[in-house]
Structures are given as structure tokens and as C-alpha cells.
């Protein structure tokens, strides 16, 4: 007779069936036997300082590795602290598995410690949520959770595990371990729809391909390369799809930046979009002129005509649809169109290009991003978090890697504080690469205690604080809306964040002059420690994202 307790069953399933070797969370009495299960089955735990960071790291892990990230939360406050990270993963369609403690079933309605109806709170922000009531069924529930997270359109799932099932032993043979299905289910569009899409693409004179997070989760670099190389279509990969083909691919127009993209969208005659929601950043589709033909590829049929009726809609996994579409498209050369749109974008970006190239005093954040890039190059993983800061990072950095430049706060939740957890996950996923985070000073505050986690677990990221002493995007938006003389809750002080990091055992640098940026970055990298380079930047500068944000909330 081999007995095993529920917590160990969790560890065993994670390791032996799903090959999970890292999980993120904070301890708690309710989940103790699960923690011991992690020890038993040699699963690395990254114990953070706030559960929101754990959920955000698990989300980020799925973005960087393509496999579901797992976080563990204890009952009650561990659960509530994790909610922001869960909501963020939900709006990002990220396959994350949340394992959560609960007050004992036995003590329901007695006023138990941390008694809370967690299920009703979490349901609207998960793809699937369940409570397991039977130790023997833990493996079965976990296998459902992983399948739900990954299959079709991905998303976060939530499994509640009360002590009544975690802390009791069962005969192991009574808790069968489901094997992992190796099949991949795919849905394919009709031949007629594919032909219709190909006809539109073949007739295009000024086409543009826009790919989103669905491209990233489809991991379809090979199919996408074959498609763009044959069709000759200039492309831009956005959100968590960025880097599926390198930003440096000759047909990628990331050098045109967001402004170039906006201008190009308005001039293109055909837009092919894949795995990309037409959300507020694309003005819910209104940015696309009515006459432009639209081919949309999405794994979710409801997305295809959302906010804009597509001329051709192809439902399925992006990679598999592109594979079917490529033989039907004709070999084309759109280099003249590409040259024109690049040249037009350059003129629109004239100011940004000059700002990148010239020293500034006070330091301009665009210049700061350019100086960072000059040190860490295209081989680094970049993360940007903040309001204006995210614009400066997304347009200032280029990487040759998959998910090499991610603006974590520019997801649909617009969630500040995501940068540090994402950068930590990137470093854990790619320990040999430089991981650089450009962080607004406001955003930095949310999860900066995680520098302690980085020191304990040796996660040496380079965090550069774009320190404008303000919640910049909000401050500049208030200047437009309520006026510079009535700013409210949007200013911060000159703070020595690098000293705080030093105090936690990391490396700190404080920079006020342009010529000191590069040496400070180099010293920070050479230190081999988690590092914070706190750079004072021009507080008057704002980004084009701010008036866009202002405009989106203007109601009359």
C-alpha cells in the first residue's frame, strides 16, 4: 500500500505529467502540504514578496516559454493579492494555472480563518475555475485545468484546493494520473474562405500584416516567415506576438514605430490581421478606413467580426491557418510600397530620430532608451512598464528574440507594476541573456520589493527607472484636461530608488547627465547583481500615448 497526501499528488502531477519545473507564489498554512509536494518532486519555487508578482510571473512565464505558468496562492489575502495578476492574464489570454488554498470545507460558515467565497470572485476573470472536493481526483482536476488553460483560445484557470483534500492521504492507485494527450486539436477554415482571403491578398497593392498575441501563443515563426516571404507583405507584430519573427526582419516595420504603424494603417489597401484584437489602441477598428479590405485570422470566431466586419474571416490557430493560406497566395514584391511607407514614417518620426541621436539635458527618455539599446543591443530581452515609459520602450528597443520587447502595462488591463515580474520571468527563462526593464518611477513602486526576491534567487535583471518624478502619463493628461495648475495625485518626488535596491543587496546607480548613462549601465551589468539604474529624466516630456489616452476618455 503506497499512501500519498493531496499536496504531494499536486507536486507529482505537475512534475511528471506537465513537466513543470518552476512555480511562483508565497507560502501559507492552508497550502503547506502542496509546498512540501514541490520539495518532494524537486519543483523550483520562486517565493516572492507580494502575490500579485507571483501571478504576473506565471503569466509572463507562459509568454516567454509558450508553456502554462503556475502560481500558488494561499487562502484569503494570498488569493485577493493575486487577483490583479489573474485579471491581467485573463485580458491577455495567457495560459496560467492558479493553485489556490481555501479555508477548510469542514469549517464552512463557521467564521474560519480566511473564509471567503473565492469562487464567485474569481469566476468572471478566469477561463475555468473549480474546487476539488476529493483527494483522489486531484490529478484529474489538474489535467482539466491544464487543458482548459492551453486549448483553443488560452486563458488563466483557477483550481481551489482546500486543506481537507490537500492534507489527507489516499492510496496512490486510487488517484490515477491521467496521461498527457499528445494530440493537437486544430480547427481549419473552409476552402472557400481561404480562397476568398487569398484573392484579396493577391489583389493588394499596399498591404500590411498585423500580428498580435495569438501569433506568439501559436509559436508560428516558421509559418509566418513562409507567408510574409512569399506574399512580400510588410508586417508589424504587436503585444505578446512581438518578436515571433525578429524586429530586424527586412519586412518588419518596427523601425517605423507606432506612429508609422498608425499612418500605414490609414494608407494600406489590404490589412491582414492575425491573433490581434481590435481594441482601444486601434480605436476599436475605427482607425481602419472603411474602404480598406480586411482579412482576419483568429482562433476565436467571435473576434473575426468584432468591432469591424472582416472581408474574409479565417478561424483557427494562426500558424495552421497561415500554413494553409501560403500556397494560395502569389509570390509578390512590395518593396516599393515598403520603401514609401518607411520614408513617410521617417518624416513623421523626424523628431524622435533626432532626439535619439543627440545628447539631452535634462535627459530625454527617448534618448535614454536609445542609450540603453546601444549598450545591450538586439540580443537582449526588453520589458517596458509605465505610462509614457511604455511608449518609449516599445519604440526605442528592438530585439531579435521571440517576445524580445514587451510593453507589459500596455495590455488590455493597462496594469502598472507588471514590468518587474515580467523581467524576472524573462531572466529565469533565459538566464544567459541580458534582461532590461525600462520602468516608470510610478510603476516601479508597485513591485520593487521583488528586488529582495531577485537577490535571494539570483535573478540579475537590469532595471532602468525613467524617473520624471511623476505619474507622467496621468500628469500630462491632466495638463490637457484639467490644466497644469490643478494637478491632482499625479506628482511624485525625487527619490533614490537605487539606494533602496542597494539596501536589499542589489546594485544601484544614480544618473543625471547624458554622458553618465552608458558607463552606469555597463557597471550595473558587470556587477552581476539585480541592478537599478535610476535616471532623472525631463519631467516636461510626454509621449503620443498620452493624448491618445486622454482622447479615449473624452466623453463630450
Amino acid at each position: 500500500m503506497a499512501l500519498i497526501n493531496g499536496g504531494h499528488l499536486v507536486g507529482k502531477y505537475l512534475k511528471q505529467v506537465e513537466n513543470v519545473d518552476i512555480v511562483f507564489g508565497i507560502s501559507g498554512g492552508h497550502i503547506e502540504s502542496m509546498l512540501d509536494g514541490f520539495t518532494e518532486y524537486k519543483i523550483r519555487t520562486i517565493d516572492v514578496r507580494h502575490e500579485q508578482a507571483a501571478a504576473m510571473m506565471a503569466h509572463a512565464w507562459s509568454v516567454y516559454t509558450g508553456r502554462p505558468g503556475v502560481c500558488f496562492l494561499t487562502a484569503g489575502p494570498g488569493f485577493t493579492n493575486g487577483l490583479t495578476g489573474i485579471a491581467n492574464a485573463y485580458l491577455d489570454n495567457a495560459p496560467m494555472v492558479v493553485l489556490c488554498g481555501r479555508h477548510p470545507l469542514r469549517d464552512d460558515l463557521t467564521g474560519a480563518l480566511q473564509e471567503l467565497n473565492q469562487m464567485d470572485i474569481v469566476k468572471p476573470m478566469t477561463k475555468w475555475a473549480a474546487t476539488c472536493y476529493d483527494t483522489k481526483r486531484i490529478p484529474e482536476y489538474l489535467s482539466i485545468a491544464f487543458r482548459q488553460a492551453m486549448e483553443g483560445r488560452p486563458g488563466p484557470v483557477f483550481l481551489e484546493l482546500p486543506p481537507d483534500i490537500l492534507n489527507v492521504k489516499v492510496e496512490e492507485s486510487q488517484a490515477p494520473k491521467p496521461s498527457r494527450a499528445t494530440r493537437k486539436y486544430t480547427v481549419h477554415p473552409d476552402d472557400a474562405d481561404l480562397k476568398n482571403a487569398a484573392d484579396i491578398i493577391n489583389g493588394a497593392k499596399k498591404p500590411l500584416f498585423l500580428g498580435g498575441t495569438g501569433i506568439g501563443f501559436s509559436a508560428c515563426a516558421e509559418q509566418l516567415r513562409a507567408f510574409v516571404d512569399k506574399s512580400g507583405i510588410p508586417f508589424m507584430l504587436l503585444n505578446n506576438g512581438r518578436g515571433e519573427l525578429p524586429d530586424t526582419h527586412p519586412l518588419s516595420i518596427w523601425d517605423a514605430g507606432n506612429i508609422g504603424m498608425m499612418v500605414t494603417i490609414q494608407q494600406a489597401d489590404v490589412i491582414v490581421s492575425a491573433g490581434l484584437r481590435f481594441n482601444w489602441i486601434l480605436q476599436s477598428g475605427k482607425i481602419i478606413p472603411p474602404a480598406t479590405k480586411l482579412v482576419r485570422i483568429d482562433i476565436d470566431p467571435h473576434e473575426v467580426d468584432r468591432n469591424r466586419t472582416a472581408d474574409a474571416g479565417l478561424v483557427g490557430d494562426a500558424g495552421s491557418v497561415l500554413k494553409q493560406l501560403t500556397p494560395l497566395v502569389q509570390k509578390r514584391d512590395h518593396s516599393e510600397w515598403l520603401k514609401t511607407l518607411r520614408a513617410a514614417s521617417r518624416s513623421m518620426l523626424d523628431y524622435e530620430i533626432r532626439t535619439r541621436e543627440n545628447p539631452s539635458d535634462p535627459i530625454h527618455p527617448i534618448r535614454l532608451a536609445a542609450q540603453i539599446r546601444s549598450v545591450t543591443g538586439e540580443d537582449a530581452m526588453y520589458v517596458a512598464d509605465g505610462g509614457d515609459t511604455v511608449y518609449f520602450g516599445l519604440t526605442g528597443f528592438m530585439s531579435k528574440h521571440r517576445a524580445g520587447v514587451i510593453g507589459t502595462s500596455s495590455g488590455l488591463l493597462g496594469c502598472l507594476g507588471t514590468g518587474i515580474p515580467f523581467a524576472m520571468a524573462a531572466k529565469l527563462a533565459y538566464p544567459d541573456r541580458n534582461v532590461v526593464l525600462l520602468n516608470g518611477d510610478g510603476s516601479f513602486g508597485f513591485n520593487s520589493m521583488e528586488f529582495d526576491t531577485m537577490v535571494r534567487h539570483n535573478i540579475p535583471i537590469l532595471c532602468v527607472v525613467n524617473n520624471d518624478c511623476a505619474w507622467g502619463m496621468i500628469k500630462h493628461s491632466q495638463e490637457l484636461s484639467i490644466g497644469a495648475d490643478r494637478l491632482q495625485c499625479s506628482e511624485l518626488g525625487t527619490r533614490r530608488y537605487e539606494k533602496m535596491v542597494e539596501g536589499l543587496g542589489g546594485h544601484g546607480e544614480f544618473v543625471t547627465r547624458d554622458e553618465d548613462i552608458v558607463p552606469a549601465l555597463e557597471r550595473a551589468i558587470a556587477s552581476g547583481k539585480p541592478a537599478c539604474v535610476n535616471v532623472m529624466t525631463d519631467p516636461t516630456v510626454t509621449s503620443p500615448a498620452t493624448p491618445l489616452f486622454y482622447q479615449s476618455l473624452k466623453m463630450e
Binding site: I259, M262, V263, Q266, Q267, T340, L341, A343, A344, S345, S347, M348, L349, D350, Y351, E479, L480, S481, I482, G483, A484, T542, P544, P547, L548, Y550, Q551, K554, E556
Partner: protein, 119 residues
């Protein structure tokens, strides 16, 4: 000369729209102090449009401070493209390096979209 006159006329059209055109009034809303300059690269001709709390002011000349400037290589091209009211012509002028944006590009687009409401 024709360019300067065009900017002057544009100012008057927009000024009128601020008073009479509800769609335009709502478009500019109560935005505080956004300064859009249209000028030639040599700095000889230009006009700044200042949108402030629902009002519009304008000054002739290319030396005033601005949030964004739409900078034309020469007044002839500027006149031709602006009077065509065509996005495509603007795009092609930018591609030919005859029109550049200095400062906050978003406001150039914002201004152009506003003008479209009025024309």
C-alpha cells in the same frame, strides 16, 4: 504668399467652426493649451494654432513655441498638398521628405482629423 494666405483662411474657417460647428466644438472639447504650428522649413512662413479650453487663437509667424509642428520643405508643396485635402498626398509628401513632423506627432494627426470635420 499663397501658403500664408491659405493658413490665414484656415484659421478663419476653424475659428468659425469653433463657434458654429457642434461636431468640431465637441472634437476639440476643453483641451488645454495645445499648440499646432504649420510652417516652412526655412522658418520664413508659418502660423500657430492654439486650442485652449474650447477656444482657438492663432498667430502668424514660424517662431512661436509649439507642441507639434508640421514642417513643409517649401510653400508651393505645402499649398498644393494642404489644398488637396488628401491624406494620401500628405503621406506621399512625407515619403518624399517634403513634410516632416517636429514634436508630438499625435497632435498633427489630431489637428488634421479636426480640419477634416470642418472641410
Amino acid at each position: 504668399m499663397r501658403f500664408t494666405l491659405l493658413l490665414f483662411i484656415l484659421y478663419h474657417i476653424l475659428k468659425r467652426a469653433v463657434k458654429k460647428n457642434a461636431a468640431f466644438r465637441s472634437y476639440i472639447g476643453a483641451i488645454h493649451n495645445v499648440r499646432v504650428m504649420i510652417k516652412t522649413a526655412d522658418g520664413k512662413r508659418g502660423r500657430v494654432f492654439i486650442f485652449d479650453r474650447g477656444g482657438l487663437k492663432s498667430r502668424s509667424g514660424a517662431t512661436h513655441p509649439y507642441d507639434v509642428a508640421i514642417v513643409w520643405s517649401d510653400p508651393g508643396t505645402a499649398f498644393r498638398v494642404l489644398s488637396s485635402q488628401s491624406d494620401e498626398q500628405q503621406f506621399l509628401a512625407a515619403a518624399a521628405g517634403k513634410m516632416k513632423i517636429d514634436g508630438m506627432a499625435f497632435f498633427a494627426q489630431w489637428f488634421n482629423d479636426g480640419v477634416k470635420l470642418v472641410m
